[in-house]
Every structure is written in structure tokens, then in C-alpha cells.
Amino acid sequence: MRSAGTVPEDFTKLSSEKFQEDRENISTGSSSERRDQETFLLESNFLMDDILHSGRVIFGDPVTNYLNELKDIIFEDNAETRESIRIYTLLSNEVNAFTSDNGIVLVSTGLLAQVENEAQIVFILCHEFNHYIKKHAINNYVENQRIERGSGIYRSLGAGEVDLEKFRYSKELESEADDLGLYLFKKTNYSIAEAQGVFDVLLYSYLPFDEVEFDTTFFDDESYNFPQQYFTDTVSTITAEEDYDDEESTHPNIKKRRDAMLIAAKKIKEEGRQTFIVGEEKFRYIQKLCRYQGCEIYLSDIEYEDAIYQAYLLLLEDSTNQYLKNVITQALYGLSMYHNADATPDWHRYYKKVEGNSQQVFYFMYKIPEYDLNILALKHAWESHLANPENKQMNDICVQLAKELVTKNDALLSSFYDEQRIKTLEVKSKIEENDTITTEKIEEPKIEKVKTKYDKIKKETPEVEEKKEQNSTYWKYAFVDYMRDPDFRNLFDIEKEVEIEDSNYKSKKSKIEYNLGVNEIVVVDPVYVSIDERSKNPVEYEAAESARLELKDKIFTSAEKLDLKVEYVDHNGIAPNDAETFNDLALLNRWISEKLDHLDEDVDMINTTNDEFAELATKYNIDNFAWMGIIAFREREKYIGGKIVLCLFYPAAPFLIYDMIKPNFNTFYFTLVVNSKTGLVEMQYFNKTKVNDNESSQNSNIYYMLQQIKTKHKK
């Protein structure tokens, strides 16, 4: 999904300007409350802008447009509030929606993928809109500060009661949003009865959008069957409780919320109310979009098992969909690369922590050996490649998986070669071709359309399957269909590939010197972070924004001296009619976010959106993209006691006193240069300096970073 239409000011206006505007509307109160409100507005504006610029928030797309239609229905007779609220879509599989103090409402695709009908999403929107109308976010912050300070009625709180009081206040606001939300909802013509299911959506939000048993033969074919030892006999039962202890929760538990709604709903006439007003067809279309988008999000979030299960669920309705097959291929590729690198992202879920049918996928990926998984991934990648030979990304994935198979898993092509088996299959294939009666049956997976996810959860009883015999060389015929294909065989001719790869490979060690010999580069939205740990509010948002804006000139000045052509893309420079550039930035930010996750785990793999990234090279007519940034960090001087003692040596005293007074500086300069055509990280430069981020240090480092991009390697 991509943004379209006019770029809203929310995405291009400087955070400091938004803050200044909001500050003028600060209500009266004590000086400490006004100060708290200022702090909140400062932080919330900058943090919201970080989210808006993350590449995960889109506007003008079908989902956002649909949500705006719902908003128009809710505020049919209240134009002022309708106009003041801006809804955008958040590309996230979290089932969530949240509201900023200045009227931005973000609704996740994960939420839309899970709700059962339009009435449910409208109820959630009504709840969120009331958070904005009643200024809950800022009130919550100010009250939390009062609780922490022990002001007024909070004076007698004990140490352990402070957090509980904060939770209590938050729950109070959530209940108010529910009550007022229902009041707002009542004004619409949506069905209360249908909306009540929203609490099941919230209760089971940690599960995929449907609960369908995973077919353990899903990865099998005629010659390649996985032993059942890789699958669990029973999956974990779903344990979600609606009446959980909510003492340390920001929201009341589901039971309390449901009960409150049921009581209130009794007073509302259900007659004449509708489940869909915009339309069921449109709702289903939007939901499908969100579910498909969810696959991509899982891939870029390195949640590969979830991606496989989501694509599996969607394939049940569209078994020939190549996009979904490619999702599974990319997920297998990611899993294989991570297994081979012996890496696991921090957020990865151990299969025992997973409930429901998706656990089967987690279990399988946990049990399958690296070698076997590599074969499975390559097999799927090659099939995806054959389905669309023009897809360069899939071809690259095949090459890399074959290389991994040979170099890391010590496989030989001959291991998969069985002349007799190939001939048998060829003969069989000819017979089938000559057979006038089509005997082939495409086995359609069973689709349970009547039961919803929530019906299934409530009635589920796990089935036990008999275990098949173990076969340790079941993979021998994995590639039997392709062994006569010279292109496939060439994948295993990797000597040359290794050499090319090695010449491109750059060590991750900091301060290594690069000589890329690049004449043109796109600089993407530079980062500037300024943190003063000595201060009560350590993040210096406004100073950092101002410094970030100045970075542009510094980069151009140095680039000019180096005769390096620079294209500069950042959010603040986007024109209102330039949604294309916004989409480019969104793609670039998502791409780099995924790449950084891979780099963190030391996994050298092709990103999910490499093909789209490569298209940007054509658009900008520049191959290389650079992410640059500065992080300035100040903290109190350490070891002061020792230095005071050393001052007894009086000639050294002036220097030691100066050293004690000044803060400790740590300024980090970094640049990541990526060739968009290859997706390879060409430069990963990092310089930690122990000096402050003054002008000359910035200029010096920026020039040096750009020099390494421009200068050719001396041989």
C-alpha cells in the first residue's frame, strides 16, 4: 500500500512548529502543570513525527480513505470535530489504534485484519475519538507527573502505590473513552450487537486473523515429504482469559469493558441498526488488503513464521496466488539465513510461547535442521523464480540460498542427483501429457467460511495425528524436478560468486576506511539526536531538529568541495503535491529498518523490498543511497572523587578542575551506504568521538564520510 494525493501538513511541518502552536493553547493551571503540559506537547509532537516519518504511516490509500468515510459517518453533524481529526493507516500487525493530543488517529492494519465487521471498527474509532475530544493523553501525562511528585491527594502514596495509581487513572480514562465512545456510537446507525464482538477481537488479538489447522503436508510434493517428527501432535490451547487481573494494566480487563458495554447497550434500541453502512463488500476488500499487507509487514519485521501462517491462511482462499507463494518463499529464505547464521532476533517467539494453530509453523521451524531448511527454502525460491523468471530479487535469493547450501551446509549437487528417479519422473510426466483425460486434481485446501476465528477458538478441540516414520534423507529428491535444468545446476557453480561477494564485503569494524569511488549519491533524511543526561528532560528535541536542518547545508558544502553530486530527500522538503517522494522515503525507511535488523544479527541477506528499492535507482538515476546521522550525548563527569584527590598535586589542579566541570562528550557519526541495485551495504562507517558536536567537528566528520564515498580505492 502506498500513500496518494496531497501530502498532509502533519507529515511535512516541523515538529518544533507544531509544538509552538500547541503550546499557545495550553490551558491555565499551576506553573508545574503548565510545565508538564509543555513537556508533554514537546515530547508527543516529536515522537508522533518520528512515527509519521517511519515509513509505516500512510495517507490517501484505500484503507485510510475507508477510515475517513467511517469518520464522516460518525461526525456527520459535527463538521468542526470531523475536520480536526486526521486518520492515517499504520502499517503494523499489532491490533491497535491510538490518538495523539492534536487529533492524529493511527489505525493499524493489524486491527482491520482482525475485526469482524464495520460496526466493530466504528466502535473502536468512537473510543479513540473521545481520547482526543477529552484530551486524555495530556491529562494522563499531567496527572502521572502529579502522582510522581506526590502533589495534592497523592501526598500520602507509598513507593509501591505510585505505579498502581497511574494505572488506576489510566483505566479511569479508558472507561470514560468507552462510555463516551458508546454515546458517540449510539448516534450512528451501526448495530450495537455486532459491535460487541470487538472485545473478542481485543481478547484474541495476539493470535493470527484466523485459526485453521496447519496442514503438515503443506511443504511436501510427490518426491519430497517431510517426516512427521518435525511436527507436533497437538498445538497449545488458547489460554486468553477475559477476567484477568488488571491492577497493573492501563486498560480495564476485557470482562469489565464488555460488561459495561452490555449494560449500556441494553438502553439502546437495536432495531433498524446496521452492521455495515459503507458496505460489506468494501469492508471485505479493505480487510483483505490489510491481511495481504500483513504478510509483507511480518517479513520486514523478521517474523517469518507468522508470515508463513498468514500467507497459508490467505492461500486457503486463493491457492494459486503467486504473491502469497512468494511471501512463503521469502519467509523460508529469511528463516534459512537466520538458522545458518545461528541468529535469533530478540523479539522472536519460542514455539512454546505460541498458542493456537500457528504454533505448528513455529514448531516445524524449530525442529527442522539448518541443512533441511536451506533445501526447503531453495526449492521454494526456485519454484517462485520459475513462476516469474524476470523477478531479479527471487533470482538473487536462489543464488544466495544455493551458495549457503554449498558453503555453510557443505551440500553437493550430486547429493540430490538420482538418474533413475529422474527418468522415472520423466516417463511419468510423458504419460500424463499423453493422457487425454485430466487426472490431475488440484487439491484445494479446506476453507471454513462459516465459522469465524472466534467461534473456532471457543469450540476448538485439538486433534491427534499418527506419527509417520522418520526418514533422514527425505530431502534427496527435493530438486529432482530441476536437475536437468542447466540454470538450476549453475546455481551450485559458486566459486565465482564467492569471489565477487568477498570483494564487496566490508568489515563491520568501526573506523575502517572505505573508498567507494561513487560520484553521485542520494542522502536520505539524515538523523540528529541530542541527549544531555544531566538534564531532567534529557532529549533535546528542538536543538536536534535545528541541528538536523543545518546538516543539509553542511552536507552540500562538503559534497561540493569533493565534487560529489548529492540528491537530498527529507520529509520537511516534500511539497504538498509530491506524494511520490513521500512514498520513496517511506520505502527507504522501511528498507533500512529491515536491513539494520539483519545487520544487528550479522545476517547478510536480501531485504524483502529489494526490488522496489532497486527501482528507485532508476527513478533517481543514482545507484547509491546514504543514511547519515549524528548522535550527540553528554553526561556528568565520572570519577570526580579521584580527581579531587589528584588536585592535591596543585600544578595539575587547573586541568583537573576543568575536567571535572565539563561534561563527558560522546558524539557518534555514522553513514551507511547501500547500492540499491545490489542491495549490498557498501559502507558501514561509524566514528565515536569523545568531543562535543561543535561545527568544526561536524564539518570534519561529514567531509570525511563523504570523502570515503567519493574517493576511489588506490591500488
Partner: protein, 270 residues
């Protein structure tokens, strides 16, 4: 010595050839003008002032002016040279010279008064910017500088000297046996030996615009032959007086190098 310095220079040039050398935004050659001030730590040679009072304050300041030029060889190394002019003085000095009965009835002629010292030095130095340890990139940021200096010291009559006809001073002129000379140069002392020393500096430099460079540093130096921490009494033995002056002059200049605070402004030539 020259050969070693040349070898060092060529090694540094060679290093420059295999690593990136960003300089400051591409500028590598800087010319500095700088001044150094330091407390005059030298001993007083006569412990009486012109009125004959003792316990006169020792406090005074040495001033030095340098012109130097730096060339950035790599991210961490700068090579350079400088010329330095130091003016200081030996206050209330008393020096004698044998007359050998040449032109007067006196055996000895003496000069009593301030001696103004002018020292000119040239130096070669190398600055190390701790790119690896602190991440700074030459020629801006913190540095450590090691400098080899060589120079000559000359003396002339200072701001005050005794008057030949001043009866007040007769008690200093060896009971009337000494001829009081009005000018220090009349002693015909010659300090023709070259003075060599080593200076260590730590400092910080930062750029202003992309043309100017400011530098603030602290220096510690030692002249070979300096005897600054030993008391040297004025010698009544005229035969030793010239070497006493020589030692005192070196010590006095040493005072200007021993520890000082240096402020300089540089200009990026290219």
C-alpha cells in the same frame, strides 16, 4: 639528525599515501600566528632592588610570538615547523669583564642593570590527533604535539641600567675598583652556541567558518643545558661571569618554555 628527520618525513608522507586524508573539509595547509604567555619562573640573580631593598616581587610574564605552518599528513598526523621570537629579560643583573689593564685603572668593568634577551628559535614538530582513541580528525580537535626547537639567544641593555655617575651604586662596584659600563653590549659577551630543546604541547583546535582555525594549548618545554631549578649567584669572579650569563640567559629563556599557555589563529591556505 637531518637524515633521521628526513626519514621520518618520508615515512609520514608514505603513510599519507595509503590512507584517506580529509584535512579540514579538504584543507590541509594552515599558517598560524600564535602567542604564548608564561609566568617568569626564573630566579632573581640579585636579591636587592635598585633602592637596595630585599624581597622584591618576582612576578613577571614571558611573552613569545610564533609563526608556524602545519601540513596535515593523515587523519591523525600533522607535520609542521615554526619560527619563534621570545623576549624576556634578566632583571638587576650584574656581570663583569676583565679589562686586563687595557684602557683604565680598573681591573674589571661591570654592567649592572636589566638585560633584555631576544631569542629566536626554529622548530619542527609533529602533532598527533587521536583519531583511533577519541575519533578526532586532524587538524581539528584535541592533539599532542612533539616539537624539536633550535635557536640563538642575544642580550642587550634592558629597561633600566645603572648610571656610571650615580653615587648610590658605588657599593656595588667592588669598592670603586670596577668600571661601571652603561651598556650591556660593552661587556662584549657572546653567546654563540645553539640552544636545542624539546617541547611537548597538548591542545585543542577548532575551525571557524572553513578558513580560520583557532588553537588553544598548554606547553611544557625543556632546553638542553638549562639549569633553571638551581640557584645561580652572581659571580664576582669575572672569569666565570660570561658563562654565568650564558647559563642565566638559557635559564631565562627556559622560563618562557617551561610551561606556557598558547593561543593561536590559523588560516587555511589550501
Amino acid at each position: 639528525m637531518k637524515r633521521n628527520l628526513l626519514n621520518l618525513f618520508f615515512v609520514l608522507i608514505a603513510l599519507n599515501g595509503i590512507t584517506q586524508n580529509p584535512g579540514y573539509m579538504g584543507s590541509k595547509w594552515v599558517v598560524y600566528g600564535s602567542t604564548a604567555i608564561s609566568p617568569a619562573l626564573n630566579n632573581r640573580y640579585l636579591d636587592l632592588d635598585r633602592e637596595g631593598n630585599s624581597s622584591v616581587s618576582n612576578v613577571s610574564i614571558n611573552a613569545r610570538f610564533d609563526i608556524s605552518t602545519d601540513y596535515t599528513l593523515s587523519k591523525a598526523v600533522v607535520f609542521g615547523g615554526s619560527v619563534k621570537h621570545i623576549t624576556t629579560n634578566i632583571p638587576y643583573a650584574y656581570y663583569t669583564v676583565d679589562l686586563n689593564n687595557a684602557i683604565s685603572p680598573y681591573d674589571v668593568a661591570s654592567y649592572f642593570g636589566d638585560v633584555k634577551l631576544n631569542a629566536n628559535f626554529a622548530s619542527l614538530y609533529i602533532k598527533f590527533y587521536p583519531f583511533g582513541r577519541r575519533g578526532v580528525i586532524a587538524p581539528v580537535g584535541n592533539y599532542n604535539k612533539f616539537e624539536l626547537i633550535i635557536g640563538m639567544i642575544g642580550g642587550k641593555t634592558g629597561g633600566w641600567s645603572s648610571d656610571f655617575y650615580d653615587p648610590e651604586l658605588s657599593r656595588y662596584n667592588n669598592n670603586g675598583e670596577s668600571l661601571i659600563l652603561p651598556e650591556f653590549s660593552d661587556l662584549n659577551y657572546q653567546l654563540d652556541e645553539k640552544v636545542v630543546g624539546l617541547v611537548y604541547t597538548f591542545g585543542n583546535s577548532w575551525a571557524f567558518t572553513d578558513k580560520l582555525l583557532f588553537d588553544f594549548s598548554t606547553q611544557f618545554g625543556w632546553l638542553i643545558g638549562s639549569n633553571i631549578f638551581s640557584d645561580i649567584s652572581p659571580s664576582d669572579n669575572s672569569g666565570e661571569a660570561e658563562s654565568t650569563y650564558e647559563q642565566q640567559a638559557i635559564d631565562r629563556v627556559q622560563g618562557a618554555f617551561l610551561m606556557n599557555f598558547n593561543f593561536g589563529i590559523g588560516y587555511f591556505i589550501f
